[in-house]
């Protein structure tokens, strides 16, 4: 079992932020529901990594992720003199429950991935970095994209590609047991991220079939969690007379 990706960041040659995007479950669930984000804004500043019951605003998380991405730049700068051959910078640091991994291309673009820390991630991380780098190359080679080092990336295609890559990774590595996902979706919001991850798992997963099926089952059980509620009321309707009979007897 490997941990989920919470943060994807691209930094340019001059250490300028090109792209910072959060994949934390909090922001995924709250982005659909503007009311719930307004209620609890500054509740817990220490919970970045693990999905907590508390709802953090997407803006709050975004700010913290920008901060984490900028910390990683120092690590890049410190390690660069020793790095001569490879693009892979491995684990950069662990901060606030996030494990940051880095990759630097020959053109000086730094890719940073933030994982929910806990498990050690092996060499399979290289394939994600390669995929993200390929998405960036496709963006740069698009003749209609004006390459400006000073401006962040605004591209729908690039957004889709990155989302695909990350969801394929997160989808194939379910960190929550079905029971957890039921309780989470029933507690937080009806249209939680489990619904989205279900479709993305079916579509983009390139892992073995077993894992894919497992992922789908997991998220379907999550998304159908409201269904126990009517069945329970039906049960209540049925149990009411039985309790009467119990009483009578």
């Amino acid at each position: 079992m490997v941990s989920r990706i919470y943060l994807v960041a691209l930094m340019g040659r001059e250490n300028n932020p090109l792209y910072v995007r959060s994949f934390a479950p909090e922001t995924a669930s709250t982005s659909h529901d503007p009311d719930s984000t307004g209620v609890s804004s500054y509740d817990d500043s220490s919970s970045i990594g693990p999905p907590s019951a508390k709802v953090t605003t997407s803006r709050d998380t975004e700010l913290r992720y920008h901060f984490l991405a900028h910390i990683s730049l120092d690590v890049f700068a410190a390690r660069l003199p020793q790095k001569t051959s490879d693009s892979d910078f491995g684990l950069l640091f662990v901060q606030d429950g996030m494990a940051m991994y880095g990759w630097m291309t020959n053109t000086g673009v730094k890719i940073v991935l933030g994982f929910a820390s806990g498990e050690i991630i092996g060499s399979e991380i290289r394939s994600i970095f390669r995929a993200i780098h390929f998405a960036y190359i496709s963006l740069v080679c698009n003749p209609f994209y004006t390459m400006d080092e000073r401006r962040p990336i605004h591209s729908r295609k690039f957004d889709i590609n990155i989302g695909r890559i990350v969801n394929a990774w997160n989808g194939t590595t379910p960190t929550h047991t079905p029971a957890e996902s039921i309780s989470r979706s029933s507690a937080a919001s009806p249209q939680s991220s489990s619904n989205i991850s279900a479709t993305s798992t079916v579509y983009y997963s390139n892992a073995s079939n077993n894992e894919t099926i497992e992922g789908v089952v997991m998220s379907y059980s999550g998304s159908r969690s409201p269904s126990p509620a009517p069945s329970r009321s039906a049960d209540g309707g049925i149990t009411a007379p039985t309790s009467e009979t119990v009483l009578a007897s």
Partner: protein, 194 residues
């Protein structure tokens, strides 16, 4: 070398035709833009407009150079981004130059640069003894006339070189010249050592 499994192949002559047609196209573009500007009034400085109201030759040439070189710059950036991905990290400017002379030049013009000279202080001279774009060029007069008229066709490769260098962290100025027809010489002055 990077190989794309979904690669679509294209006849190499298409690139030649495109690069040859680029210069007349750019001249027409500049002409149209210049006319629009002069008809609008004082958009163009008065000194650069000749007596008959047309744009000065020098200005026109500069505008064409800027246009073509800008196109090349963008192409160079994209090429480097894609084809440097599986290479070991570049340690110094000379390393970058070697990559451009060997790999990048071969990608665009199917041959390597024949000669790379440097003074180790930021000046690099790249010589291509049979430059692909100039190979089939000749004029009726020949000699110096051909050389002068071939000059604009070196602006696009100039831009490619500058774009490639810029994306690899080397800010540079690139100037090209030709002395006899199939020979192209590129002077690169690196502004900042990385």
């Amino acid at each position: 070398m990077y190989t794309d499994p979904h690669a679509i192949y294209l006849n190499l002559s298409c690139l030649d035709f495109l690069l040859v047609e680029l210069i007349p196209m750019s001249e027409r573009v500049v002409e149209v833009i210049g006319e629009r500007k002069t008809s609008n009034g004082n958009a163009m400085p008065a000194i650069l407009i000749e007596k008959d109201g047309r744009i000065g030759e020098e200005e026109r040439r500069g505008a064409v150079f800027k246009h073509v070189e800008g196109l090349g710059y963008r192409v160079g950036q994209g090429l480097v981004e894609r084809f440097s991905q599986d290479r070991p990290r570049f340690t110094d400017v000379l390393d970058v130059m070697k990559f451009i002379c060997k790999d990048l030049w071969h990608l665009i013009f199917r041959k390597q640069i024949d000669n790379l000279k440097t003074n180790h202080r930021g000046v690099y001279v790249l010589t291509d003894n049979s430059f692909r774009l100039l190979m089939r060029m000749s004029t009726e007069v020949g000699g110096l006339d051909t050389v002068t008229r071939a000059q604009p066709y070196l602006w696009f490769p100039c831009g490619v070189l500058r774009g490639a260098l810029a994306n690899l962290g080397v800010q540079a100025t690139v100037v090209a010249e030709t002395t006899a027809i199939p020979v192209a010489v590129f002077h690169i002055q690196a502004l900042r050592q990385d």
